[in-house]
Point group: C2
Chain length 170, copies 2
C-alpha cells in the first residue's frame, strides 16, 4: 500500500473484531516503530505489548472506561524512559519522539489491514500500576490495535488555506 | 512506494541538491500533514512554508548555523497555535500532534523521492522573529525538504529485545 493511501485511509478505530492479529503482522507494526527517527537517535522509547485479556480489560478501565480499548486483541503501551532531555528549541524530546514511533506504527498497521486508535485519555498512574511500570517512566499513549469492526468516515480537516502560510506568518 | 519501504529508507538528509521541488510534490507532502490525526481532532498546527533563499539562510543561522538547512529549497516550519491543552494522561497535546503531522510529511516525502531532516536545534525566538510568528505560538520543528545530494547509511537502532516488553514491564 502506498504511503498516501495509508495516510488517507487511516481512521481512529473504536470497534474491533474478535479476531487475533497474526504474529508476523504485529511484528511488522512493532518494527515500524523501532525504526523511527528520534532526537539525536536517543530512542528513549519502550513499548509494552499487551495481549492478555484481563490486563486489557483493566487498561480499558484505566482509559476512562473506553471499552473498545479492551476489545482490541493487542494494546501497545508507549513509554518514555528518559524524560528530561530538552532540545535547543525548548521542546522536550520524548513526547515528539514517542509520537513519531507511534505514528509509524499506525501507518504500518493500515498497510497490514489493521486499525488503531491513539488514546491519550487514560489515568497514567493506573496504567503504570497495572503493568508494573517504574515511577520515572512516562506513559505517552495507548494504542489498541486489531481488525476493524467498523471503519468510520473521515473527520473534518481544516482547509489548506487555514493550515499553510507561505514565506511568512500571516 | 509501500509504507514499510518508506519507513526503512527514510534518512536524515543533511545535504541537498540545488534543484527545486515540483509544486505537485510539495503539495502532496503538505497534504500528508494536513490529513494527520490529532487529539480530539484539534489540528492546532500551522505550517509556514519557506522558499525564499534569503529567509532560508536566516533560518539556517537560527538553526545553530546548520548550513544544510538553508541549502534545502524548502523549509517547513511547524508551529502550534494552541499550546495549553493537556490530555487526561497528563501530556500536552501539541508536541504530539505536531510530531504526527510532521512524521506524515517525512514519510510522504520519501514516497516522492525527497529527503527531509527533523530539526530541533534552533533558537525559537530567532525563528519567530524572522517569520513574524506571534509570541503565543510555539515552533516545534523545522523540516528542510529537497532532493538528497547524499543519502547516509542507516543509523543504529536498539534491538527488539531492548525496546519491546510483553504483557508487563520487565
Amino acid at each position: 500500500m502506498d504511503v498516501m493511501t495509508a495516510i488517507r485511509t487511516r481512521r481512529s478505530i473504536r470497534s474491533y473484531q474478535d479476531r487475533p492479529i497474526e504474529e508476523e503482522k504485529l511484528d511488522a507494526v512493532l518494527e515500524a516503530g523501532r525504526l523511527a527517527p528520534s532526537a539525536s537517535n536517543r530512542q528513549e522509547w519502550r513499548f509494552v505489548v499487551v495481549k492478555d485479556e484481563a490486563t486489557r480489560q483493566r487498561l480499558a478501565r484505566a482509559a476512562n472506561n473506553q471499552n473498545f480499548v479492551g476489545e482490541a486483541p493487542v494494546i501497545i503501551v508507549a513509554c518514555a524512559v528518559e524524560t528530561s532531555h530538552v532540545m535547543s528549541c525548548g521542546q522536550l524530546s520524548y513526547p515528539i519522539d514517542l509520537a513519531i514511533a507511534v505514528d509509524h506504527m499506525t501507518l504500518k498497521a493500515v498497510e497490514e489491514g489493521l486499525g488503531t486508535c491513539w488514546i491519550g485519555a487514560f489515568k497514567e498512574g493506573e496504567v503504570k500500576e497495572i503493568l508494573g511500570i517504574p515511577d520515572q517512566v512516562r506513559v505517552v499513549a495507548l494504542l489498541p490495535i486489531g481488525y476493524p469492526e467498523y471503519v468510520p468516515s473521515p473527520t473534518r480537516r481544516k482547509s489548506r488555506d487555514e493550515v499553510f502560510m507561505f514565506e511568512r506568518w500571516r
